[in-house]
Amino acid sequence: MQFKSTARVIRTSVLAVLGLIWLLPVYLLLVNAAKSPETFTTKESWLPTDFSLFGNIAEALELSGLAESAASTLLYSVVSPAIAVLVGAAAGFAIVALRLRHGFAWFVAIFGGTVFPLQMILLPLFDAYSRTGLFDTQAGMIVVYTAISIPFSAFVMRNFFSGIAHNVFEAAVIDGATTWRIFARVYLPMASSALVAIFILQATFIWNDFLLGLVLSQSDTVRPIVTSLAGMQSTYGGAQMSTVLAGGLLVSLPTVVLFLFTQKFFARGLALGQY
């Protein structure tokens, strides 16, 4: 017993010290994002001087079109995962409940879309988007974000539906329900927690995207927020560092808060997809 409690104290202390180290960058971000551009200096980073956080955030929203970006990015990270979740669920439903012929081959075909790096599709997408007028449009961004979210969504939903007894489906068939009805009224409601888990994971992923935004957009109104932040960092990183840090804080807050409050869903999504 004595040994056990000593081990517990050691474990707790190691974790606490390591945890404090982990929080230092967060502390530095908060303290320096709150310094007004006048009092900010790169030589004194550890002590707070004043509290101009909200002024800095307002200023950051003006610079590099961060405010416009925020609105567009919110649109992308709600609409795209919502569509992807439904499309993925429909695919899983077709394979598992409707017993699509060669279902596993179809599944591999969809899931295979996620195993290669984005670099493999960037140039043709850029080329095709430029030719078809989708370049630098919100519709273009929504389409590409939807497409890259589908493989994971189909993967998780197929796994999830595999866990539902097939006589649930047979019973609905005997009742004479149409496939659409069985999908929308029986299968989707049963899968709501998995749907939410996928939605949250994909929304976070899309909010944090940098590369697709960099290649497929250029105007402030279309450009996703992280790409705008990167632009702001290289343009104003020297002269207005505290404003850039405030911008970084603003961009990061939504996903960090969402994640901390939905850890359970995240863990579930991770476990469902072994992601």
Partner: protein
């Protein structure tokens, strides 16, 4: 339920259902085919051509690949990418496992895990903004070291390969939490009996880890390691955010080299060849964890 228990009309309906299955899978297949597979094939084709976006691609066979391997900058990029793979396996996966083991069955473990989870949902660029600030000359880290009397600090983001190493550590700061979370899920799914039995036999912490925990975590570890390798091969955001691959090309990764050749130098053929190379390497690495994923799920 067998076919005999269904009425003829229900049977007919079920045949219709098989057809409607195609309708349900079509949107997913179409979107993935048009936006992922077609571009993939086009990039593969372009890698065998000379093309700068104007006129038509001109077939040159494997010349881009020859040029690629002749370029010392590309070789440096490959080496940096390997450093990323090794570094992210060693640091975030290792510490993540450590945190999971330390918090396992510990009172307040959920709270003690929290600091590691906060950075997880940050974007690569967000991490870059914070760490560029900390690591700048005379920045927060240098000030802290000066307080301990260390004045002669290296230029963290300028000296290679130190710049790659510190960027790996910044990524580790972000990645430990999710690895800890995954390993925690793994630990929680281990059945109690063998653990109790080992405790009765008086196995200590290290022995218990070696003989029971580690073997039982193996499938999950394969997944975490596979994901870590695949993700680190694609490293782009944080490097582009912190050094832009510089100074010169000193901290370029493959993903960055591809981006620069394609979108900065307009060398579409060469950029595509690098993308193909990166993809082949990633696919080989993916087999490690895909086999695990598909075999465990396709059991039925």
């Amino acid at each position: 339920m067998t076919d005999k228990t269904l009425s003829p009309s229900a049977l007919r309906r079920r045949d219709q259902y098989r057809w409607s299955a195609l309708g349900f899978i079509a949107p997913g297949v179409l979107l993935v085919a048009v936006l992922l597979y077609l571009p993939l094939l086009w990039t593969t084709f372009l890698s065998l051509t000379e093309y700068n976006g104007l006129g038509d691609p001109e077939w040159i066979g494997i010349e881009n690949y020859v040029e690629m391997f002749d370029d010392p900058g590309f070789i440096g990029s490959v080496l940096n990418t390997l450093l990323w793979v090794a570094g992210t396996l060693l640091v975030p996966v290792g510490i993540g496992l450590g945190v999971a083991l330390l918090t396992w069955n510990l009172k307040g473990g959920t709270w003690l895990r929290l600091p590691f989870l906060i950075p997880y949902a940050l974007s690569g660029i967000g991490v870059g903004v914070i760490w560029s600030f900390i690591l700048s000359g005379d920045g927060a880290l240098d000030q802290a070291l000066a307080a301990f009397g260390i004045d002669d600090t290296p230029r963290w983001l300028v000296d290679a390969p130190l710049n790659t190493v510190v960027m790996i550590l910044a990524t580790a700061w972000q990645g430990v939490g999710v690895n800890a979370l995954l390993f925690t899920i793994g630990l929680q799914s281990i059945p109690r009996e063998p653990l109790e039995a080992a405790k009765m036999d008086g196995a200590n912490g290290l022995r218990m880890f070696r003989s029971i925990l580690w073997p039982m975590l193996r499938p999950l570890t394969a997944v975490v390691v596979g994901l870590s390798i695949v993700a680190s091969l694609k490293t782009f955001d944080i490097v582009q955010g912190m050094t832009k691959g510089g100074p010169g090309r000193d901290s370029e990764t493959l993903a960055l080299t591809m981006y620069k050749e394609t979108f900065v130098n307009s060398e579409y053929g060469l950029g595509s060849a690098i993308a193909v190379f990166l993809t082949v390497v990633t696919l080989i690495a993916s087999i490690l964890y895909l086999r695990q994923q598909l075999s465990s799920k396709h059991g039925a």
